[in-house]
């Protein structure tokens, strides 16, 4: 089972995500944004960074990269699509996930670990976690302030206090409903602002990213099995 890791010009977390997924047993291949086919891949990740410099709006230009048509096709087949940080922004711009991400409430970039509460396990990202579980995962964004579209999103992760309560103070960026991560209705497309790949080894701020990435790898495996 092979996961494509999409890089746009300006993406910068592609190697980190590849390294992390490989450490959980996935095989990954880099996919440059000019590719038009994702044949042979079970899933894709859109990693973090600053695709096209984040100019105009985050994700606005990346969304028209040639690879995105193939990503849409793969998503339509129900195969796992994960967007992390900038990748989440691209998925929203592309309409694969609802809503949009705007500048943080305090107009400052935020790089620090935050607490997240698992709201739902019906997604490729949270299936191995438990509802209510609190995870510590680093955030790293200027535009992480989630704005919903007309319909309420299927929220899978929310910013919370260390004890799991949802408060304004624990909301680092002003995100509507403290949303940190969402999925489509079937849970096969997921996006989140924090970076699970930054919380996988003992020397890092935490190792809570493992359960999310293990969920994703398990989701990819089960797609592989059902197709076999």
């Amino acid at each position: 089972m092979t996961v494509g890791i999409v890089a746009f010009p300006g993406t910068n977390c592609e190697h980190d995500v590849g390294y992390a997924l490989e450490s959980f047993g996935a095989t990954t291949v880099p996919v440059w944004h000019r590719e038009t086919s994702l044949d042979g891949l079970e899933a894709v990740v859109l990693p973090g960074g600053f695709a096209h410099g984040d100019y105009l709006r985050t994700g606005a230009i990346a969304r028209f990269s040639p690879v995105m048509a193939a990503v849409e096709k793969l998503a339509a087949e129900g195969r796992p699509v994960l967007g992390i940080c900038n990748g989440f922004q691209v998925l929203c711009e592309a309409g694969l996930l609802p809503g949009a991400l705007i500048a943080n409430r305090d107009l400052r970039f935020i790089c620090r670990p935050v607490q997240l509460r698992v709201e739902s396990t019906d997604s490729i990202l949270t299936r191995a976690a438990a509802v209510g579980q609190v995870l510590t995962i680093p955030l790293n964004s200027y535009e992480g302030n989630y704005v919903p579209g007309p319909d309420a999103p299927n929220t899978i992760l929310r910013y919370c206090e260390p004890d799991g309560s949802i408060t304004g103070r624990a909301n680092p960026n002003g995100s509507s409903g403290s949303v940190a991560g969402i999925a489509n209705q079937t849970g096969t497309i997921a996006g989140l602002m924090p970076h699970p790949e930054r919380a996988i080894e003992d020397f890092m701020a935490s190792t809570d990213g493992r359960v999310l990435l293990e969920s994703f790898v398990a989701s990819v495996e089960s797609v592989g099995v059902s197709r076999a």
């Binding site: 010009p9 910068n12 600053f50 410099g53 970039f109 790089c111 790293n140 930054r198």
Partner: protein, 729 residues
């Protein structure tokens, strides 16, 4: 008329005559433009060059010393590390966001020019008083600019320094340092290669950015008519730079370049003359082939433009096509703009005609070398003899004042704006004494500490500079790393004043001596003069960036918990408070003569710190620097949310900043083990307290207890509360 033109370009009449003599005729305008930027203080080091030769630059592990775009050292197992530091002080005052951003862009290019992938950035920033709204605007803009560029270009910012003092109000300092790593067979130098080699200009298009920036902006002070001298502001494009990094690394990987030179100050002029001079060849440069952002630029404008995000690659003719393909793949522009020629002439063509014909090396090597007068300042004696107030405030009052100071309190407002985790190698990011990253595929870690202290250096630049080197060394030692190499950035006032030249030569003497005794080479540096406003010079502010190697990386120290002994290690404390944070924050004075380093004691402390970091798992180490031992202990306790009791014998004992001392916190039952190690290394150890409880208790004749929550609130607000709602636009 040429005579008036050369003055407008910041050249003296003597320099104009020298150019005339080199050429044997009066220079044409484009030629004059080239000499004016290359012979500027910023590019030619004309005031400093005569003195820089005294620095120790050699060691068996030095691969590239000063003179190239960055220093390079061997870290073993086939890996090299490249490092470099630069200032962007004046541009950041004119436009803080873009000034700082383009500073980051420039230092990155210095590193990937060497064939290295940039893996970490540091910044050292100094401003006036945060109570002043304009200072807040500058500070906010500079931090946002560093973040905006560094984060987007995809290189983590792993640490730095921030200081506030009114002396920087009219002249903030923005220094940036970068570290890169590369395989030992991938080193690329800034050489033009043999005749026939083709010059390919990569990256952003050339516009009228920062014309004369090096000569006018970076080589003169600010005064009332600064506005008239302001060249247009350079705008950084981290997206373009990100593509340029990937494209260049791809070119190196495929071994397609003979040499590479970044375009920084003096743009195309520098990127042609320097590589040609290094290779002892000539060069033909065709300006008509340069990709432009603005139509109808003149030859002098193109030659002087400081448009950002450009690189010049020197390529064998047979490989030009592949170079252009690689550029296209990464979606950057590339133009074939020149050819290396026999002889030594640099010839430039514009609109089909030759507009420049000069000896290439004359631009770089024949710049004037000035021997400016040097005199020790008269006011120094008065400062050394300053009378200090007799009465001091209670310890708890001083503790809260110091921890609430923006230079000593919580600086996460700054560093949380920087991506410091990218690449998944950050073992210690900002918030500790130094930063440490792992080198993947090895058991090595690279540690960096950057240190400056303008107040100490104002009182005694030689002792101050020595102290910085030893402080930086101890900062990496407490992370388990051994000092390997130093880069320095000397920020000073107007060199036309003999007192400033004295500060400069004293600083060099101190740096040189300390690096010599420590056995650490200086592999690069930068001198920034003319940091003055309306005739007032800044404090001499050398900044030292020190690279250390940890092998292996020690296990991560454990979380601080109750019941740990607080050990103070190193020489006994004198009663010297000269240049300390205590003077600045509590007394509002600056005076006395700083304690000198003691190279033997310093060396022993460093050895012991390294040893403890490796052999006492779980020991928490922290060097004693600004604020002194009590502040060092309080910083650890506040960060961990654990109280503690600390014994102090006197004000200098609590807040003095004498060198070579560090704290070691270990579970009480392991204190004896640390004591044994210290005896073996010949260091003194004093048990000054224990962790636990919900207060910090300061034990002197009486005991004062300050609730940890109160201290934490003061510490947390040190910067954040003052910056609420600040804007960078």
């Amino acid at each position: 008329m040429p005579e008036t033109l050369h003055r407008r370009l910041g050249m003296t009449d003597d320099e104009f005559q020298a150019v005339h003599q080199i050429l044997g005729r009066p220079p044409e305008d484009p030629e004059l433009a080239m000499y004016s930027v290359m012979w500027s203080e910023h590019c030619s080091y004309k005031s400093s060059r005569a003195h820089l030769g005294s620095l120790p630059t050699d060691a068996p592990w030095v691969v590239v010393g000063p003179g190239e775009n960055a220093g390079v050292v061997d870290i073993g197992d086939g890996w090299l590390a490249a490092l470099r530091i630069e200032s962007h002080n004046h541009p950041s005052f004119v436009e803080p966001y873009q000034g700082a951003a383009t500073g980051v862009g420039g230092i990155l290019r210095d590193i990937f020019t060497m064939g290295a992938r940039p893996v970490g950035l540091w910044n050292q920033i100094r401003f006036g008083d945060l109570a002043d709204p304009h200072t807040r605007y500058l500070f906010n803009g500079v931090v946002a600019g560093i973040a905006g560029y560094g984060n987007a270009v995809g290189v983590p910012t792993l640490g730095g320094e921030v200081e506030f003092d009114p002396v920087y109000a009219g002249n903030p300092l923005v220094n940036v340092m970068c570290l890169g790593i590369l395989r030992d067979d991938q080193l690329v130098l800034g050489t033009a290669g043999p005749p026939g080699t083709v010059a390919v200009l990569l990256g952003a298009s050339t516009g009228r950015d920062g014309i004369g920036g090096a000569s006018v902006l970076a080589s003169a002070g600010f005064d009332e008519d600064a506005g008239a001298k302001r060249p247009s502001v350079q705008v950084g494009d981290p997206f373009e730079e990100k593509k340029l990094i990937e494209a260049c690394l791809d070119l190196y990987e495929r071994r397609l370049v003979v040499g590479v030179q970044d375009l920084g100050a003096a743009g195309l002029t520098c990127a042609t003359s320097e590589p040609a001079a290094r290779a002892g060849v000539g060069m033909d440069l065709n300006l008509d082939a340069v990709h432009l952002r603005e139509a109808e630029m003149t030859a002098p404008e193109m030659l002087m433009s400081e448009s950002q995000e450009r690189m010049m690659a020197f390529v064998a003719p047979a490989q030009v096509d592949e170079v252009l393909e690689v550029a296209a793949k990464w979606e950057i522009e590339a133009s074939v703009v020149g050819t290396v020629a026999d002889g030594d002439r640099l010839r430039v063509y514009h609109n089909g005609a030759q507009v420049v014909d000069v000896p290439a090396a004359s631009l770089t090597d024949e710049a004037p070398i000035l021997r400016r007068p040097i005199a020790r300042p008269d006011w120094l004696k008065d400062l050394w003899n300053l009378a200090e107030p007799a009465a001091d405030v209670p310890f708890d009052v001083a503790l809260l004042a110091l921890l609430g100071d923006p230079a000593l309190g919580d600086r996460s407002w700054v560093y949380e704006q920087f991506d410091h985790m990218l690449f998944l190698n950050t073992v210690h990011g900002p918030g500790r004494d130094g930063s440490l990253i792992r080198v993947r595929g090895t058991d090595k870690g690279l540690a960096v500490s950057t240190d400056g202290n303008g107040r100490l250096c104002q009182l005694d630049p030689r002792r101050g500079a020595e102290r910085l080197v030893y402080e930086a060394a101890l900062n990496v030692a407490v992370l388990g790393a051994r000092p390997l190499a130093v880069v320095d950035n000397l920020n000073l006032g107007n060199p036309e004043k003999p007192e400033v030249m004295w500060q400069f030569t004293e600083t060099l003497a101190g740096l040189g001596a300390a690096c010599e005794t420590l056995g650490v080479p200086i592999v690069g540096g930068n001198v920034s003069f003319y940091n003055e406003t309306d005739g007032h010079d800044i404090f001499p502010t050398p900044v030292v960036g020190l690279l250390g190697l940890a092998e292996p990386i020690p296990v991560r120290p454990r979380q601080l918990e109750a019941g740990m002994a607080i050990l103070l290690i190193g020489p006994a404390q004198s009663d010297n408070l000269a240049g300390s944070a205590y003077q600045r924050v509590v007394r509002g004075t600056l005076g006395g003569r700083p304690t000198r380093i003691d190279a033997d004691e310093g060396g022993r402390s460093i050895e012991l710190a390294i040893r403890i970091a490796h052999v006492v798992p779980g020991a928490v180490l922290h060097d004693v620097s600004q604020g002194g031992a009590l502040i060092a202990a309080a910083e650890l306790l506040v960060a961990a949310g654990v109280g503690g009791q600390v014994e102090v014998d006197s004000v200098p004992g609590a807040f003095g900043e004498d060198p070579h001392r560090f704290l070691c916190l270990v579970p009480s039952d392991r204190a004896a083990e640390v004591g044994q190690l210290a005896r073996e290394e010949g260091c003194e150890v004093r048990d000054i307290g224990i962790t636990g409880g919900s207060d910090i208790s300061i034990v002197n004749q009486t005991t004062v207890e300050v609730p940890l929550a109160r201290i934490t609130a003061v510490w947390t607000d040190a910067i954040a509360a003052k910056m609420r709602g600040a804007l960078h636009e």
